[in-house]
Amino acid sequence: MNPINTRETFDNQLSHLSQEVLSLGKMAEIAIRQSMQALQQADRGIARQSIRNDLEINKKRYALENNCVTLIATQQPMGRDVRFLTAILEIITELERIADYAKGVSKVTIRMSEKNSSITIMTHLQEMAEMGLSMLERSLEAFMRRDTESARSIPLDDDQVDHLYNQVAMELTNMVIKDPGTVQTAQYLMWAAHNLERLADRVTNICERVVYVNTGEMLEFDQMEDE
C-alpha cells in the first residue's frame, strides 16, 4: 500500500475546490443568460425558472463555503494556501451575488406588463450582459491559471459596461420624455441595467482576489470614476 501523502491530498482538495468554483461560476453565467433570454422574449416562464434555479446556486455556494472552512480548520493553511482559501470564500460570495443579479433581471421580466419595444435599449442591455459575462469568464480563467496580468487588466473593461449603462439611462430618460406613459417600464429596465452594471463590479472584485492569491497584494480597482 502506498503511504498517504498529506500534502498531495491537500493539493487534490484545493484543486477540486477550484473546479467547484469554476462550476459555480458556470451556474452564475447560465443564470444571467437565462434571465436575459426571459427579458428579451418577455417570457415569464423562463424568468420564474431562473429564479427557482437560484436556490441551487445558493446551496452550492454554502457547500463550497463549508468545504473551505473545513480545510482551514483541518489543514491550518499558511502562505499561498491560506490566501487561496480566503480568496475562494470571497469569490463564491461574488458569484452568488452575480446569480442574484440574474434573479433581479428575471423579476423585472415578471413585473413588466408588456414587451419592451425599444430595440436599441434591449440591444444595449444585452451588450452589457455579454460584456459582464465575458469579464466573468476571463476572471475565472485567470483564477484557474494564476494569471495575475489578466486579473489586473480585466477590470479595465468595466468602463465599457459603465458607458453602456449611462447610455441606457439616457435612452430610458428620452423614452419617458417622449411618452410619459412608459415611466414604469423605464423604471423596470433601469433596474435591469443596474443589475447588469453591478455584475461587472463583482467581476472586478473577483480579479482583486486573484491578484491577492498570486501576489499577496491587497488591491482595489477603483470603480468610482466620479470620486
Binding site: 500534502r7 499558511m78 502562505g79 499561498r80 491560506v82 489586473r152 487588466s153 499577496g216 488591491l219 482595489e220
Partner: protein, 280 residues
C-alpha cells in the same frame, strides 16, 4: 500598461517592518557557530526587538537551537564548539573576554524543551536561583516568600500550587513543571527569556497555557522561542525568523519579518515551501 485606477490598500499585516535599532534587546552580527570543523550556523545577522516574542523556525538541523543557545553562551558548554561574529547585548559583545558568562545567563535566562525542575520543593525551585544571585529585599519584596509568590503568579502557577509549596517540584504535571521552570527563570530577574521548544512535550491545554503566559511575560521581558510548531509561532510571536540548511548543511537565515507577513505572504520561495509543507 499603466493602470492609474489601481491603488494599494495599506495593510499593516503585510508590511515588511523589521525591528529598529533603538528598540533592540539583542543583536547578532555575522554569526558563525562551529562544532569542530562543522559550521552549524552561517553568517546570521539578526536584530531581536525588546518586549516582543521572536520565533525561530525551520527544519530539523537548520541550527535554530544552536543559534538560540548562543544568545546566552549555552553553546559554549558543548565541547569543540566555537563562534565567530558578535552578539551585542546592551551594546556589549557577550563573547568579549571581559564578560562573565554566568552574568550573561543571569540576564538572559533559558527554558528548555523538557521541564527540568530541581528535585526540591516548589518553593525552593523558585527561591534557589534568586538566593544564588543575591536576592535583595530592596527590590520591593521585603521577604523571599513574597518574591516566590510574585514569580509563581507571573508564571500563572500560583493558584495551582499555593497550598503545596513544600511538595516536590517533580510532583507537578508536565505543564506545571514547565511553568515552574519559567517561574525559576523569572526569579533571577532576566531581561531576555530564551525558550527552546518549551511546549513540545506538553498536551494542547498545557501548551495553550504556556503560549498565553508568553504573551503576558512579553510585557516585561523579551522572549526568543524556538519551535517546530509553526502554528504556535504564528499564534505567539511578533517576529519570525526562518532558517534552513544550505548545500553544506550549515544553518542560514532565509527570511526575517513580522509574523503576519511571514505566514501569509512570505517573500522567499523557501519560506513558502516550508510553511505550506512542500519542503523541509
Amino acid at each position: 500598461m499603466q493602470l492609474p485606477f489601481i491603488y494599494e490598500i495599506n495593510i499593516e499585516s503585510t508590511e515588511m517592518t523589521l525591528p529598529q535599532n533603538n528598540s533592540l534587546a539583542i543583536e547578532a552580527t555575522n554569526l558563525n557557530i562551529y562544532y569542530g570543523t562543522f559550521r552549524a550556523v552561517k553568517d546570521v545577522s539578526l536584530k531581536i526587538p525588546q518586549n516582543k516574542v521572536t520565533a525561530l523556525i525551520g527544519p530539523s538541523g537548520c541550527g535554530k537551537s544552536t543559534l538560540i543557545r548562543s544568545f546566552n553562551r549555552m553553546n559554549e558548554l558543548v565541547p569543540g564548539s566555537h563562534l565567530k561574529g558578535e552578539i551585542l547585548f546592551r551594546g556589549e559583545n557577550i563573547y568579549a573576554q571581559t564578560v562573565d558568562p554566568v552574568e550573561v545567563r543571569r540576564k538572559i535566562g533559558m527554558v528548555f524543551q523538557k521541564p527540568n525542575p530541581f528535585p526540591k520543593s516548589i518553593y525552593e525551585n523558585v527561591a534557589w536561583g534568586a538566593k544564588l544571585n543575591g536576592f535583595k529585599s530592596e527590590l520591593g519584596y521585603p521577604n523571599m516568600d513574597e518574591w516566590v509568590e510574585q514569580c509563581l503568579r507571573k508564571a500563572a502557577l500560583w493558584d495551582e500550587v499555593k497550598d503545596k509549596l513544600d511538595q516536590s517540584g517533580l510532583s507537578l504535571s508536565g505543564g506545571q513543571q514547565q511553568r515552574l521552570c519559567i517561574a525559576r527563570t523569572i526569579a533571577i530577574q532576566p531581561e531576555i527569556i530564551l525558550m527552546d521548544e518549551p511546549a513540545s512535550a506538553l498536551d494542547p491545554i498545557a501548551t495553550l497555557k504556556i503560549e498565553e503566559l508568553m504573551r503576558e511575560l512579553v510585557e516585561e521581558y523579551t522572549i526568543i522561542v524556538v519551535t517546530h510548531n509553526m502554528h504556535q509561532a504564528a499564534r505567539v510571536s511578533d517576529y519570525t525568523a526562518f532558517l534552513t540548511m544550505d548545500e553544506d548543511r550549515s544553518g542560514v537565515l532565509v527570511e526575517y519579518g513580522q509574523t503576519n507577513q511571514i505566514f501569509t505572504n512570505p517573500r522567499d520561495s523557501r519560506t513558502e515551501g516550508y510553511i505550506t509543507g512542500r519542503y523541509g
